[in-house]
């Protein structure tokens, strides 16, 4: 379960590109690709292994006109999906 205080990072050998606001994510070890829409790309692009989830939400709140609590729930749920998909993992020492 992703919490606002957690810090996440991309797994090793997961690379991506943001193209026209969409993201193509590649897990190199099994050649699995994942396409993300504009919002998904915006979230992934802010996962840097240092910034907590709450910080990502803060940044997205400046872009998207969504009530903050709802935005936080949506972002946490989406990040959990990326963890489950083998794209992200908790950063060491980051909660």
């Amino acid at each position: 379960m992703i919490e606002p205080g957690m810090v996440l990072r991309r797994r090793d050998r997961v690379v991506y590109r943001v193209i026209d606001d969409e993201a193509l994510v590649l897990r190199m070890d099994d050649a699995e690709c994942l396409g993300l829409d504009e919002v998904g790309a915006a979230v992934l692009d802010r996962v840097d292994g240092r910034r907590p989830v709450s910080g990502i939400v803060d940044q997205l709140a400046l872009i998207y006109d969504v009530e903050r609590a709802q935005l936080e729930r949506d972002v946490c749920a989406f990040l959990q999906e990326l963890v489950d998909a083998g794209v992200l993992q908790p950063a060491a020492g980051g909660g």
């Binding site: 690379v15 590109r17 943001v18 026209d20 190199m28 070890d29 396409g35």
Partner: protein
Amino acid sequence: MSFHRFAGRLWDRDVPLSALIELTHRCNLQCPFCCSQPGEDPAGTPLGRARLLRLLEELRALQTLFLTLSGGEPLLHPDLWAVGRRARELEFAVRLKTNGHALDEEVARRVHEEIAPFAVEISLHGATAATHDRHTGVPGSFERLRHHLDVAQRMGLRTTLLALVTRHNEDELDAMRALARGRALPLVLDPVVTPRHDGDPTPRDWAPTARGRARLRALLSGGDAPAPDSDEGARRRFCGAGASTLAVDPYGVVSPCVQWRTPVGDLHEQDLESIWRGPPMEEIRRLSEQARRDREARPGTALGWEDCPGIEHLDGHHVGCAGHGACEEREIEVE
């Protein structure tokens, strides 16, 4: 969203998702059907290390993800390691396209540790020593390849076998598949023996026979072809050449695709973005749209097996294209 759908959409959006750099045309094998001229061109000025490294930065800025390091034989190029390490830092998905002849224990270890490639693509020319060695012109190359495949697999390198289908190995397609399956390796079969980059048609003497091509079609239709793409009908270009792919030769000449060698720029004189957005590449895209319209005017034609504009450019004939208009994508699916 599937990779094919995402990549296919890029055909119309002019983002070079895939790039191929031929580091050198030198090679340690002597395949008579190779599309590269053997050895270096004395009239050409190879790209130096600094320009190669700057090229990586330019590709990164253009959002390239898949970077193929090819040749000739890329393992012979002294800057492979510097280029590979920088490519890793820039988070490219690096494909190393090699004949495997130099991929001994020490080299494989360096590839694994320094480049950490997405894939190592190794050429296979037959299922027997007699056939493979006939293709490479080097006795013992098959046994050496088998040993180096052992090394690569033991090292954990994600390895794919690439087999160019010729009239001299077309009877071993099933055996090559069995060899690949026995090692749990994907095998990509390519039926297109192209003329040399300078138009010399000699390699076409090795092209598969009609029977061999029919056998290959049967194999591909048996499950190795890419999955159908629901967006396919909406695309306006023949393929991704010059639209989602580009190629760079050892001398800095940029072309839309390794199979479509029309020069569109020179990295000694131009930056990559200028080339990518310049009029010659725009003309390539126009031709690609025309090629698609031409093909669609012939209902019933199998998608992607005819009329590759690049090969037409090389030899003036229509021949089968292995790419299904998605050459750079197949290795991901054929596993």
